[in-house]
Symmetry: C2
């Protein structure tokens, strides 16, 4: 399907509550473990989502609307959470993500974007020309990439424990493409 | 890590609320669409999880405790939801899953399993000898497999809409191994 602002919003607005139901107060054995060296834990993923709310999605949407293709987006720092989350608890990160996402979606709604705005163009530093519709669709699909990743990280903790069932469990066949 | 009953329970008890936060009242464009012929929608996945609660996990745990390896498990019907979910709404299925999961976890807690029970053995019709610990770990990892699948099914709906970003989105590279 085409990007549809109502559909995009319906998905984006549910992610904080989904992560909250899934991860809050879950033992560290699930949320602080990763898939091996240089991979992320669920805790790291929430920090990454916070950084996206602060610096990526709405900043890029506004740049498209203000400057079009004349000013490329700032590159996104995929590892910023390693510096910024330190010393925060997972419940604190979940609260911060919830607050920032709600604020960003309020800002997005206030823009009252029309269908023709969706075709407005910006410059991505690596991908070149992109549209506002593509940016908004990617914001939603990026949430899904990281929900997908969290399920894989947590399943990895039981990789040995499931014994012979491992071959029936699709998540254990996933090749780590979204780390 | 080894299967740990507290860790397993902490994960199993959160899945209904996670699915509820994620899927309830989400537009059908996200929940009723699949990845193509002979694949599942998020709606189908919830029906499959319900069938597991009714016929698989606790039934197999009880069989191990009552009969050990002398009576193999019944095979699990992976397509039962196609017959059984018909005419139910997704909110109805979410409510049913929530109720059945809570009931099963109550039954599991009442068993007051000791560490030595975890090594008790059963016969899987395809996999041969399995332990109770492996069964319980698989119950949790099976939830994660289907959360992983739902994120992939939903991301697929925006596969075209994200434009050039598709190569950066891990979930769009996932090869459908958990369908």
């Amino acid at each position: 399907m085409q990007q549809d602002l109502k559909h995009t919003l319906s998905l984006l607005e549910r992610t904080p509550a989904t992560l909250n139901a899934w991860l809050r107060d879950l033992p560290d054995a699930w949320t602080r473990e990763n898939e091996g060296e240089n991979t992320w834990s669920a805790y790291d993923v929430v920090g990454h989502l916070i950084h996206g709310e602060r610096t990526d999605w709405m900043a890029r949407a506004k740049r498209i609307l203000e400057f079009g293709e004349t000013r490329p987006f700032e590159p996104f720092d995929r590892l910023a959470q390693n510096r910024k989350s330190q010393s925060k608890t997972l419940p604190e990160l979940l609260d911060e993500f919830t607050r920032l996402r709600a604020k960003n979606l309020d800002e997005l709604r206030v823009l009252s974007l029309r269908p023709e705005d969706m075709e407005r163009r910006g410059q991505h530093p690596a991908l070149g020309t992109v549209t506002l519709a593509e940016l908004l669709a990617t914001w939603a699909a990026h949430d899904l990439t990281h929900l997908h990743q969290i399920s894989r990280i947590m399943a990895h903790q039981y990789r040995q424990a499931v014994g012979p069932w491992s071959k029936f469990l699709g998540v254990l066949q996933c090749a780590g493409h979204s780390s």
